[in-house]
Amino acid sequence: MSRYLKLYAHFLRFSFSKAMEFRVDFFFRVVMDIFFYAVQFAFFHIIYLHTPILAGWDIEQMRVFIVSYIFIDALHMTVFSTNCWWLPIYINRGDLDYYLVKPVSTLFFLSLKDFAANSFLNLVIAGSLLVWVLTNYPGPLEPIKIFVYILLLLNGTFLFFLTNLIFLLAVFWTQSPRGYGDLFFSVSHVMERPDRIYKGIARKVFVFILPFALMASYPAKFLMEENQWHLLGVIFGVTTCFFLLVQVIWRLGLRNYSSASS
């Protein structure tokens, strides 16, 4: 374990020094994410000009939901997204060989080696937005629930990453350079809408098969509504299943890996 922590510390150091070389990109990324956050708030603001309630939530409650998925997005962008970008390319080009011979878990190495230091400031901004919205929330928020909510957001980020991996690991079989990364990007917008809008079979799909409803919506529901402790079982159960599923797909994929570039 300590070996992996030390390795991650090296990843961090290297990523920050690399980010400092591209200062203009650093600035543009901050502007891009601030713009993205503004669009998310504006989107729901416009909707609430036409309806007082959406999925059982008023605008104050919706703001908690918005910052929840903004925080997950920012954390994913910072910790995982660069790695998710490169992973299918390594597999497609046959560059995986170099990582397979390293004396650490290949999936750990490839999932965490690039910490997007240039997105780190955005994570700070997203975190500040989260604090601001929670501080201004008009209803009562219990400290223990806030603590669990933060853990659920971290879990939501991890689950988002695991789901992303499943779409990307398809590259072992499709041999294409991006896997189904573009499709994942489209599907991931499910997370940006409250889970209660999804009804019938779609609801089951977005909870158990493509669990985007569990990532931000369930944590927000847990925080703001009474008697929602039962959600924890569903959230952690699905996350565990997805973690195991990724391990299985990764192993099957490696068996299919030919090492040659397509």
Partner: protein, 257 residues
């Protein structure tokens, strides 16, 4: 060549295309049906539920036609130093890139008509009819929009002469066009004051306008007015991109990074 490149991974291409279209509609359907149910209304800001679904079915396709295939390619040539060959070839770099952009757009243009055709065949009472005039207006408008977007985007790409990595600038432009053009929410839902400002920008002409051509009847006068505004904006983008190109190419070292 662009078509061949797009279709190199056919299974991927179709899974991505069908999946993206499907999920865009699924999300829009559940969001808006929840709003219609809450308000207990049949029509909201001129949109019925069916019209809303058709809107969200066509919007991503219009967006794709506009974006073509060349996003990021100019900046890549600058970083990698492969711009060298264009400086030596007896062709205009900008002209070559615009043609490549169109080649990608043509494929998406064909896709939208497959979708419209399927909708017209399978819908009980289609909410809009296609006519030769509509087809003509839409084609001209998309041609103009595609050029306008190319010129707008090239402004961000040419910054690569000065900056190391400008991927995020292109994403900002995409966000701006998507939100202020009406791809996320139809512009008729925006507050009136914001529309007065938005109409002074090029964005409503890039998405909302072609959608209006498809779903409503656009008079010749309105068509000309919108196209003129779009053309003026394109000239503005073109002017600034020429300025950037003329200044930037003297900074170009040709070795890549």
């Amino acid at each position: 060549m662009e078509l061949r490149r797009t279709l190199t991974y056919r299974a991927d291409f179709w899974v991505n295309f069908i999946g993206q279209t499907l999920f865009s509609i699924v999300i829009a359907y559940f969001l808006w049906s929840s709003i219609f149910e809450t308000l207990n209304v049949q029509t909201l800001n001129g949109f019925t539920m069916e019209r809303m679904i058709v809107y969200y079915l066509l919007v991503p396709l219009v967006f794709r036609i506009q974006q073509g295939q060349t996003i990021g390619s100019i900046s890549r040539e600058i970083y990698e130093g492969s711009l060298n060959k264009f400086l030596l070839y007896p062709i205009n770099f900008y002209g070559f890139k615009i043609i490549t952009h169109f080649a990608g757009a043509v494929f998406y243009y064909a896709q939208i008509f497959v979708i419209i055709g399927l909708y017209q065949v399978f819908a009980d009472n289609p909410i809009f009819e296609m006519s030769f005039l509509k087809l003509f207006y839409f084609t001209i408008a998309m041609l103009g929009i595609s050029i306008a977007y190319f010129c707008l985007n090239s402004l961000s790409e040419l910054v690569a002469f000065w900056a190391d990595y400008i991927w995020s600038l292109g994403v900002i432009i995409r966000f701006a066009v998507s939100f202020m053009g009406g791809a996320l929410i139809p512009l008729s839902f925006f507050p009136e004051w914001s529309m007065k400002i938005l109409n002074l920008t090029p964005f409503p002409y890039m998405i909302s306008f072609p959608m209006k051509i498809l779903l409503e009847e656009v008079a010749l006068k309105e068509f000309f007015l919108n196209m003129t505004i779009l053309a003026l904006w394109t000239l503005v983008f073109l002017f600034f991109s020429r300025v950037l190109w003329n200044k930037g190419r003297y900074r170009y070292t040709g070795v890549g990074i």
